[in-house]
């Protein structure tokens, strides 16, 4: 299971869309993703995460976006409304709840549009029944999840617990560390998710507020380039537009009801969704330059993290370095598919593995523990939740405690 894919400097297969090179109504040229990221000049911009989402969507040739307010994604969702009004998207409206919104997104995707939406925390959980439906129906919808708490009492603060719920929905789940990641992941996410051999939904996650509401410098490709459109006929299932055969077609037929039963179909269907997620590796590795990033990963002390926990770890590593303690870092970019072989390889020499997380359960640590030998090496934490920050000093302290060193305990 979850084998690493070797790709030897390969690029994702270039788009063959008939509109490649043509202009859209906004005077943007439909361009292959390789050219947008690896050929075109990138210019630095100082933007909030919400603005970064807008800038990405301007360059993604999106058909439909459906919006619903929930902090911390409301601003981004409204900004997409503004660019819809300018003419960048074909359809945009406010739905009545996240459950309905995800259904509206599904309808648009069944009909052949590229679809983008955003949600967070309680919205993600309200919408939950839709996500495995999207995956089972092979709809390559992108939802940008700006993570926030899902607990009671209500919290609007950053917390990555909701990602845990997404892991077995059959979606691709990527985790952005920075605004730059967010921009890249949104654009690249469409292309990977829409590959005919993949063709499942994708959740591009980022940590709410830390990424959405802070300003950062982000390199953007020129605005006169946009992704080649989604081709609904490059699809592992017939698109529901009555323009393709077979016409006697229910996209998600009842194969288990009453008089007609095929459990083998159901089982194979589920396996096929998992297989589709696996196939995304081949396309993701060249676009994201691997499913993980590693920095001095051969060291005996290793931090493995995703999202903004990576940024906090970078600073912690700098602080430890000042005291002569050398720690390596592994950043996980894709949680689904999980970089199993990559993690096994980079953790081979590690004696202590620290997994800092912004959630109460430590799900990333669980994921890692489940796949590596001698998993008592994994230290589950430090983790914070409910909107707490994770000062780099906390990571430093935990590492020192683990090493049996003197520390001055940090207090709240």
């Amino acid at each position: 299971m979850n084998k690493q894919v070797e790709l030897k400097n390969k690029r994702i297969i270039a788009s063959k869309h008939v509109k490649l090179g043509q202009k859209n109504r906004m005077d943007q040229t439909y361009t292959d993703i390789n050219d947008i990221f690896f050929k075109a000049e990138q210019t630095p911009n100082f933007l909030t995460g919400s603005e970064v989402i807008r800038e990405a969507i301007k360059r993604c040739s999106v058909g439909t976006s459906v919006a619903y307010p929930i902090t911390p994604q409301s601003e981004a969702a409204a900004l997409i409304g503004e660019i819809y009004a300018e003419g960048y998207l074909d359809e945009y409206f406010r739905g009545e709840s996240e459950f309905a919104v995800m259904g509206q997104c599904a309808g648009a995707a069944f009909g052949g549009h590229r679809v983008f939406t955003t949600t967070a925390g309680p919205g993600t959980l309200r919408a939950m029944e839709n996500f495995p439906m999207w995956a089972g129906a092979r709809l390559p919808i992108q939802v940008c999840v700006t993570c926030r708490g899902v607990n009671s009492p209500l919290s609007i603060q950053p917390d990555t617990l909701e990602m845990y719920y997404l892991l077995e929905t059959g979606m691709l789940v990527w985790h952005a560390e920075t605004a730059q990641d967010l921009f890249d992941f949104i654009m690249k996410g469409f292309i990977v998710a829409e590959q005919p051999d993949v063709h499942v939904p994708i959740a591009v996650c980022c940590d709410g507020f830390f990424v959405t509401h802070t300003k950062d410098t982000v390199d953007l490709p020129p605005l006169d380039l946009t992704l080649t459109p989604y081709d609904p006929y490059q699809n592992p299932q017939p698109v529901m537009d009555m323009e393709t055969s077979p016409i006697r077609m229910m996209r998600d037929p009842f194969v288990m009801k009453s008089n007609y039963i095929s459990y083998a179909t159901h089982a194979s269907w589920q396996q096929e969704i998992k297989a589709a997620v696996e196939r995304s590796r081949k396309h993701t590795i060249p676009l994201l330059d691997g499913l993980i990033d590693e920095y001095n990963a051969d060291r005996e002390l290793l931090i493995v993290a995703s999202g903004t926990a990576v940024s906090q770890s970078r600073e912690a590593i700098r602080l430890l370095e000042e005291e002569g303690i050398k720690v390596g870092l592994v950043k996980i970019k894709t949680i689904r598919p999980f970089p199993t072989e990559e993690i096994r390889r980079v953790t081979k020499h590690a004696k202590h593995i620290f997994v800092p997380e912004f959630n109460v359960v430590g799900w990333l640590a669980r994921e890692i523990k489940a796949i590596i030998p001698d998993n008592e090496r994994v230290y589950v934490g430090p983790h914070v939740c409910g909107g707490m920050t994770m000062p780099s000093e906390v990571i430093v302290e935990q590492i020192k405690i683990q090493l049996g060193m003197e520390t001055t305990p940090l207090r709240m």
Partner: protein, 214 residues
């Protein structure tokens, strides 16, 4: 780590999807044979050998080539018929994907929800899928590998199928024609078809056409 081999079954009560075993699809210009990536040309010859060596080699054309929903399909259908005549191979259609109620006629059709029935009924030992949507093709290929000993092949118009024992990708008319050429070439080298003699069935609006008279 050793490569998972995609071989004819019966493999398991529920065999794994080959992609989950680490098998990767071929790139343009390539094909795969039993999980091994090869130059596409190598696969044509293996295809022809499998077909000519089989007792009941069968083509399963799917909705994308059965229905004349765009201008290019008719030519593909013609080439498929030519392949069937040349080899010879039986043609059993997958007209659509509905869970047909109350049952399918296993002698004359195949359905992605229980393709094994058609394989068993007709004792098909080698088959090729052409024009079936990838999702439904993958379901079929896996169920066949799970429960039958049929050697499965796929001429896929998109990225190919790891769950087939042999798969091409980016299928077009030219590639279907290359299948015919590969069969012709082997025959010219003296390889003879081992197919059990048969007559292609015919269906009309009224049902099976009795061909015993002709």
């Amino acid at each position: 780590m050793s490569q998972y081999q995609v071989l004819p079954g019966p493999e398991a009560f529920l065999p794994p999807a080959a992609a989950s075993m680490g098998n990767v699809l071929p790139d343009p210009g390539e094909a795969h044979i039993e999980g091994r990536i090869v130059p596409e040309d190598e696969a044509y010859e293996v295809f022809a050998r499998k077909v000519l060596g089989a007792k009941v080699p069968t083509i399963f054309p799917g909705p994308l080539v059965l229905w004349k929903w765009n201008d290019h399909v008719a030519e593909k259908a013609k080439a498929i018929r030519e392949l069937a005549n040349e080899a010879p191979m039986r043609i059993i259609p997958m007209a659509d994907y509905r869970p047909k109620y109350p049952k399918i006629e296993a002698a004359v059709e195949i359905n992605p929800n229980h393709p094994n029935l058609t394989i068993w009924h007709n004792k098909i030992d080698v088959c090729i899928f052409i024009g079936v949507h990838c999702h439904q093709a993958n379901l079929s290929l896996k169920i066949i590998r799970g429960g039958t000993n049929c050697y499965t092949m796929a001429m896929c118009a998109m990225a190919g199928h790891e769950d087939a024992c042999l798969s091409f990708r980016d299928a077009d008319l030219g590639k279907i024609r290359k299948l015919i050429d590969a069969v012709k070439k082997l025959k010219s080298e003296g390889v003879e078809s081992q197919a059990i003699p048969f007559k292609q069935f015919k269906l009309s609006r009224a049902g099976l056409v009795d061909q015993s008279a002709n």
